[in-house]
């Protein structure tokens, strides 16, 4: 009996981490766009960056329950860091510079994480908003370094690995961005499926019980906030590198609000929400601005209200259920055994 239960426990726990058919298809399609949509690489690069940025927010919001209205602080700091490293040729190799930009943003995340440990959602909203406003005004004030309202000009990017030049059509930029997105996504996937990731969900669900089973709640939150800031910094760095430009808008409250919007559209707590949200947002933006050039945000706003009223995780839920259906049809291992019991 115990042996049987043990096998069931192992199967159940590891099933979450298994790569399903939906995921395989998603990434195959993503990489296929390198060959099949060459004319859209500029837009796709931007979409992938939004996706990565939203993914970074999902790590704290979807997994640890930390709501933020100032995530652009880390995005912007990463952008300026990457821009400055390239402009002053401090680190020439783009991939190494990007990693450094991420580390700088992570350091800022670590330092400010202690401010979001305690308090209600409202406190956290205000504290994160405050931190991003401070960063914005600092960038504005030190115009000698950042270019202030004109943005950081004169960024010249070296070729990736000394071989692949950033071209005018954005082909290199897209492959470079997609590669970073894929690697960071898989890393995040690993993290959220680890015991550490599970403990974050526990903290989100019930911090009192979490500490009562020996979880060092505060340190776990510091860790994920730092990681999330690093991810946001890399997303910002990617934008600065692929556009050879950084600006105050990358630190702005509008950007913080947009990324939250994108994540909510895509759904929180399953990692793909950020990517899917970015895609939907981009497609809607294109489609709606064709339809009503000036008022497309009206429809985005309406969609947002609808999504929140229907249930913010509904879209993700639909996708998961479709995945399960496909999985059943293909006799893929069922993702939960409760599905078996229901049959």
């Amino acid at each position: 009996m115990t042996r049987k239960a043990d096998t069931a426990v192992t199967r159940f726990l590891t099933s979450r981490a298994r790569i399903g058919p939906f995921e395989t298809a998603f990434w195959l399609a993503a990489f296929a766009t390198i060959y099949f949509l060459p004319g859209r690489h500029l837009i796709l690069t931007e979409t992938a960056i939004w996706g990565l940025f939203a993914l970074s927010l999902d790590l704290i919001l979807g997994y640890a329950g930390i709501i933020s209205l100032g995530h652009a602080a880390f995005f912007g700091v990463g952008a300026y860091a990457a821009g400055l490293l390239a402009k002053y040729e401090i680190i020439v190799e783009p991939s190494v510079a990007l990693l450094c930009a991420g580390l700088i943003a992570a350091a800022l995340g670590f330092a400010t994480s202690f401010l979001v440990l305690r308090g209600s959602d409202l406190t956290r909203l205000m504290v994160t908003l405050g931190v991003s406003l401070v960063c914005f005004e600092l960038a504005n004030k030190f115009a000698d370094l950042t270019g202030g309202a004109d943005g950081l000009q004169g960024v010249a990017m070296a070729p990736v690995f000394g071989a692949y030049r950033f071209d005018l059509f954005g082909h290199t930029a897209y492959v470079y961005t997609l590669a970073w997105l894929f690697v960071l996504f898989m890393l995040a996937r690993r993290v959220v499926n680890s015991p550490f990731g599970l403990s974050l969900k526990a903290i989100k669900g019930n911090p009192l019980r979490s500490s009562a089973i020996g979880i060092a709640v505060n340190w776990r939150l510091v860790a994920i906030y730092t990681l999330s800031a690093g991810y946001a910094g890399i997303a910002g760095g990617l934008l600065a590198q692929t556009q050879a430009f950084a600006s105050l808008s990358m630190l702005s409250i509008e950007r913080s609000a947009d990324v939250l919007l994108i994540l909510i559209i895509g759904g929180t707590g399953y990692l793909y929400g950020g990517l899917i949200g970015a895609l939907i947002y981009r497609l809607l933006q294109d489609y709606l601005s064709d339809l009503t050039a000036r008022y497309w945000q009206f429809w985005i706003g309406l969609l947002l209200v609808a999504i929140v009223l229907v249930g913010r995780e509904r879209i993700g839920g639909w996708i998961r259920s479709v995945e399960t259906q496909i999985g059943r049809a293909l006799r893929w291992p069922a993702s939960t055994s409760s599905a078996d019991q229901g049959a």
Partner: protein, 255 residues
């Protein structure tokens, strides 16, 4: 210093807790013998749950000391006390609504093995941990619901999980705060049976209202009234004590 075998596993010395003008714990000195089945009883508002919160670090005392195996733990954070071997259940369920019993117990076992910070290995990939989770699921009769979300479990099962997750922390001392509270009569025996079957080397402090449960379980009883330790002794002695009867009959007692 007494010999190690005589050191109480958990001891409080003059433990005080005041909330403003209200005294919730007043100079409580209590020693819990290793392996004891100790019950803490007292009328509503006597300060029983406050005492548990003090022992587990959810509240900081206004004065006094708490010792685990003779070592002071008075100012340690809750999660550190858990790692040292004090685990508790809650009078009102404190569970992870969106997680399954498997995950809930897996979390507690992982933390005990120090792999809760592991961010690279996949959950469920350590054979020792999954085997332990399976064992716990069986011991606490949760196998049939182990893949269900906790939020939709029958209340009795949730109470079992409440005890199971505390036990999964591998405690030296297990504090049970009214484990059967609110459980329908039909599901009660399951909980009492699992409590009775707890290993003898785990010391249990049971907070309970139901006198049948207390007297069938405890080998020692402390009575708490108005934040003070009122009477302490073996069950038959406490049962005969006229002062205890007076308190439970609601009569005012003086001196």
């Amino acid at each position: 210093m007494a010999a190690a075998s005589e050191t109480p596993v958990l001891e409080t010395r003059d433990l005080d807790k005041r909330f403003g003008g209200i005294v919730a714990a007043n100079a409580i000195s209590m020693a819990i013998r290793r392996g004891a089945r100790h019950a803490l009883i007292g009328p509503n508002g006597a300060g029983k749950t406050t005492f548990v919160n003090l022992l587990t670090g959810m509240l900081r005392p206004s004065g006094g000391e708490i010792l685990l195996d003779g070592a002071p733990i008075t100012n340690l954070e809750p999660h550190r006390r858990v790692r040292l071997g004090i685990a508790r259940t809650f009078q009102i369920n404190q569970l992870f609504a969106d997680l399954t019993p498997i995950e809930t117990l897996g979390l507690a076992v992982s933390e005990r093995h120090g792999s809760g910070r592991d961010w690279w290995r996949i959950v469920g990939s350590r054979a020792g941990i999954t085997a332990e989770v399976a064992e716990l699921l069986e011991r606490f009769r949760l196998v049939d619901v182990m893949t269900e979300r906790t939020a939709i479990l029958p209340y009795g099962k949730q109470r079992l999980l409440e005890i199971a997750v505390a036990f999964a922390c591998g405690p030296r001392v297990l504090l049970l705060d009214e484990p059967a509270a609110g459980v329908p009569e039909a599901e009660r025996h399951e909980i009492l049976a699992t409590i009775a079957a707890l290993p003898a080397d785990v010391t249990v402090l049971l907070i309970e209202h139901d006198m049948d449960i207390v007297f069938s379980f405890a080998d020692r009883i402390s009575v708490l009234v108005n934040g003070e330790l009122f009477v302490e002794g073996p069950p038959d002695e406490v049962a005969r004590d006229p002062r205890v009867k007076a308190v439970y009959l609601g009569e005012a007692f003086d001196g």
